[in-house]
Symmetry: C2
Subunit: 413 residues, 2 copies
């Protein structure tokens, strides 16, 4: 006979087992025939398998040299390449004192959170935001406050006011084509964020997984690239290869002032000791082969066409019923249902009509603040025809929902 | 003109920048001609490059299928193989509810520490111990207490007494061929640890990177494998591929009761989202190819011969001057200088005589408790002749030190 598990005394942030509202939609999204606009995944058919295979084979030829324990902060070859890539984005940094290779951008966020935050501290994140980023902050035991964000990014005046009140140690934004909003913060607002960082003495942390996926409008440099003088001490940049090369590499990087970077390396030594030197060498080789510069424009072009298709379908099928601002890059539409129907009520109808999206509610750190009419729709993983089909189905689901038709799907709240 | 960096308000555990006393020896250890007994690295020439290349090529053939985002808890294929491997060690577990793939055993320790500990909590670790394990506990802000360990492992009576007093949430040991002690905890003591875990309601966490590297004596099952009834709820097992396959894979695993495991998966989602699915598939393929079972005995045989060579050289060259208990597996000798000379005083002489070891002091969480005469010497990375040469040189260094000969090397304290 098995003995019941005891009540474990977990640390406060882990007392409630984690819920994953987005992952819980996946079984529906994976149904054959269903059009999934719900994923946060990049397009699999665009992965540069040939280029990765070439780089991998080059590294296999010297495999013995990259199987041992290695530098916590990353392979010198990869740090060099990532500093070069950052410089191409406008951010000049020293690969030895300012850059760390991380396990995706997620680990960059987690390391920073840990070296800065403890219970009693505060951090600020824009709302809505990517839930794993919010969790990286919350799991330190710190209090996380939110500032509203929208199609133009974080509300800088609200941030100024809140920061004066709660004294955050770090403020986190996705400045380009954010998840979920698709929002981009203007150059003027980025400069304002740097001013506020100096004024309130917080680290302004830009997570930039999507910045290179711009298919419209003008490039805006990363926030840290705009930092001059004192602002340089407060600007942190995080990026990732997940959306441009492949998520499964789990390679990201962090650019931070040396004193901050040094602690992040210390934290990483106790977290996982290093990323796989093997994979790092594959990524460095891929970059050194100059495949990246050839490959990223392909993704950009495909996503641009898919974004157009989604915008056109929404205008054609759902004009007036769904409101949105077309993003200039990235993977996501943030759209609002304009009538009385909210995104959670619509969802079972959508699933029944073989289309899935994520209700915007899932992205609000504080559910009380959630815009219940919002929904996140990804255009990244399907061709134009399928996107259009998804939107047609969404229209039918809206009709059925408006008519209070019976629905067989029942979802947890 | 550059502006001086501000005083950042780091979280308490990161206020002092990390020091790395072992890493600081590496420049000396790397000098051409020097015999390094200082490393904690496995033998590079024993890596199964052929087997890894074969597995890697098999995975390259289906690369497209393992580049996407993947399960936080690990690839199903690898979890299955690791459950099989754990079972071969005597530990039966469910790959879906009890096992998580981690970034080396280090991440297993870090995840557990985070889900259990926060400031105000306590944990216990044996002393001496691997510094990164101590840091994983300390970086949560919890207080870390120590229980003396020696050639027979942790002092269980001292643990019983301390646990009653400080109420730890977790107690961490390396039960087989520990780093740095080379110690193995007997079956009787392992059972006692399980009793104490139930009595004091702590998780008994066994980090087992070396267990399969037994070259003498009788196998003792992992602590969690001995757990029955209520004890099953308190036993956690962590292991790693770093010492048997290669460190740069950064693949380890954690076996924990389902409620604990679930939180660890939640913590991992905010830490790095997953290990590289690509690398996981390579490791799973390697295991499925049955290379592991063929390869590990090779390491065991080589390390056994090297261990013998070190024991013989110590007896031949330094009888009475250095006291040790020969380990039955793993990579490390823990030896004591028997005279007045301590290991820190000897070190510059050793370096001058082209041999390096790590003073035992580096492994004490509380430097006040350090045995200043202890030293850790690895026999893993050199052939028998070179090990003997290193010990001869150590003897000469001891002579020079005893004679108070002038020495040109000066080391930070």
């Amino acid at each position: 006979m098995s003995i019941a598990a005891p009540e474990y005394a977990f640390a406060t942030p882990f007392q409630t087992p984690p819920s994953a509202p987005i992952r819980s939609l996946m079984p529906y999204a994976m149904r054959p025939g269903t059009v999934s606009l719900a994923g946060g995944y990049p397009a699999q058919e665009l992965f540069d398998i040939e280029g990765l295979t070439t780089a991998s084979n080059q590294v296999l030829g010297r495999l013995g040299a990259c199987l041992q324990y290695s530098n916590i902060d990353g392979q010198a070859s990869l740090r060099h390449e990532l500093a070069r890539l950052s410089a191409a984005r406008g951010l000049i940094c020293d690969p030895d004192t300012e850059l760390v290779v991380t396990g995706g951008s997620q680990q960059g966020m987690a390391l920073l959170a840990r070296v800065m935050l403890q219970p009693g501290d505060t951090a600020i994140i824009e709302s809505p935001a990517f839930p794993n980023s919010v969790n990286a902050l919350r799991y330190t035991g710190a209090t996380v406050h939110t500032v509203p964000s929208g199609p133009d990014g974080i509300d800088v005046d609200a941030l100024d006011e809140l920061a004066a009140r709660v004294k955050p140690k770090m403020v986190c934004v996705v400045a380009s084509f954010s998840n979920p909003c698709g929002a981009t913060i203007s150059r003027a607002r980025r400069l304002r964020l740097l001013e506020l960082a100096i004024k309130h003495r917080f680290l302004i942390v830009e997570d930039d997984p999507y910045g290179e996926l711009r298919f419209a409008g003008e490039t805006v440099p990363p926030i840290a690239a705009l930092a001059e003088g004192e602002a340089r001490h407060w600007a942190v940049y995080i990026s990732s290869m997940s959306k441009t090369m492949a998520p499964a590499l789990r390679i990201g990087w962090l650019v931070a002032p040396p004193e901050v970077r040094r602690r992040c390396v210390g934290a990483k030594s106790a977290d996982d000791m290093a990323n796989s030197a093997w994979v790092q060498e594959v990524v460095a080789q891929y970059l050194a082969n100059d495949r990246y510069a050839v490959h990223v424009p392909r993704i950009r072009a495909a996503y641009g066409a898919r974004c157009d298709a989604m915008a056109q379908a929404l205008e054609r099928e759902l004009a007036g019923r769904v409101i949105f601002k077309k993003p200039e890059g990235g993977m996501f539409f943030w759209a609002r249902l304009s009538g009385e129907i909210d995104a959670t009520r619509l969802l079972p109808y959508a699933i029944e009509h073989e289309v899935v999206y994520v209700p915007g509610k899932a992205f609000y750190p504080d559910p009380e603040q959630a815009d219940l009419h919002a929904m996140r729709m990804s255009f990244a993983t399907m061709d134009e025809e399928r996107i259009a089909l998804g939107i047609v189905r969404l229209g039918r689901a809206l009709d059925a929902c408006a008519a209070n038709a019976p629905v067989s799907i029942s979802l947890a709240a």
